[in-house]
Symmetry: C2
DNA sequence: CGCAGCCTTGACCGCGCGGTCAAGAATGGT
DNA sequence: ACCATTCTTGACCGCGCGGTCAAGGCTGCG
């Protein structure tokens, strides 16, 4: 749906995406109906289909935007830090804090992972994140700061730890994002056994 | 649905659960209809509702059974191994191999995680797994084999690594489960930095 | 054989879904 | 004032969903 939108139109679209993202996060993709979204916003159904060609497209747009936001935050946090290991640390911390502040988007990621329809789009964004981490890891290996293992494996392991700790301790138990980030960093650097 | 079933009935139920689990894994929970399941098996709809009171109950039964199976496999693999760190290793390896052989059930776990309706049941099973790992970790800490950190954090981190590496390298890239297990174990024990 | 009860059939139901569209209200440029 | 364009309305559509049920086959026991 590439329409020419006025400022008013762009605002409406934002409202729709934000509201829908929260409904999706609460209910899941399939159980959230278009009727529910528009009635929740107090508008007619036509509004929805003026801005989006389908429910699926809306979800994809939310997903893409969230991935883009998250990556932006990561890159801002990393800045021009020269140490690759510290870059990884900064990335983990920034991700945790952002996820804690946008937990509904974390759930959007989860739903996307569960749906064959959205998994490819999700994977594309995740590959970008993996690529970022892989670059830092490779650099760190060259410097002898990290053991020489397949960087892809290390990158996915890091993402797995970050994801799982965020879900469990931030979302389910309401712990502080910064604290959980420290735990994640410690585990990723040293594992179970101390260095 | 607690009916008195004959052997024939029990076989039918197995068929239904196995077939449905595969359909769910391929399509997701919501997009897989009861009509699709029964027509795929070449039986009438009444058969379905003879053995299950709802589509939701079927899914829950599949989920519970899968969790139970996985735990059984883990415990068998661990046997009476005295070393807590080796117990964790054996658990990871057994889980990876089992997941590789039952990838459709891995997807069932994924869908359960995404649906508010099933998340509690999934969490209950996962808490059992976490509890197992926590016990090994605590023991290992006492022996000085593992650094003294919150065992819950370590357990969830281990599960996160296992999950994510399994999904990426076994399911998406078709790598060998045993090899991926070694990677997961190495990361969990030592992290990025070598010991 | 006859009967009890396990099992199967498939037409049917009501509902709520994603999506459409003719009609008209706002908005803003001239 | 007028018009072009953007935006909004909500009744409506066809469909396929989860679930029901009266009817009848099948099986094994006495």
């Amino acid at each position: 749906m590439n329409r020419q939108l006025t400022q008013r139109g762009r605002d409406r679209k934002r409202q729709l995406m934000d509201f829908a993202a929260h409904r999706f996060a609460d209910n899941g993709y399939h159980p959230t109906s278009v009727a529910e979204i528009v009635s929740g916003m107090g508008v007619g159904k036509g509004v929805f289909y003026w801005y989006f060609s389908s429910k699926e497209e809306l979800f994809l747009e939310i997903l893409r935007e969230a991935q883009h936001e998250l990556r932006k935050v990561q890159q801002q946090a990393i800045g021009d830090e020269p140490d690759p290991v510290r870059r990884i640390e900064l990335g983990i911390r920034a991700s945790m804090v952002w996820l804690a502040e946008h937990r509904h988007l974390f759930h959007v990621f989860q739903f996307a992972a569960a749906d064959e329809r959205f998994a490819p789009a999700l994977r594309r964004g995740q590959d970008v994140a993996v690529g970022d981490v892989v670059r830092h890891v490779k650099e760190a290996v060259v410097l002898g700061r990290v053991r020489d293992t397949d960087p892809q494996v290390l990158a996915h392991a890091i993402l797995g730890v970050t994801n799982n700790l965020a879900r469990t301790f931030i979302f389910e138990r309401g712990e502080d994002a910064a604290d959980v980030a420290e735990d994640a960093i410690a585990f990723c650097l040293h594992g179970l056994v101390d260095a």
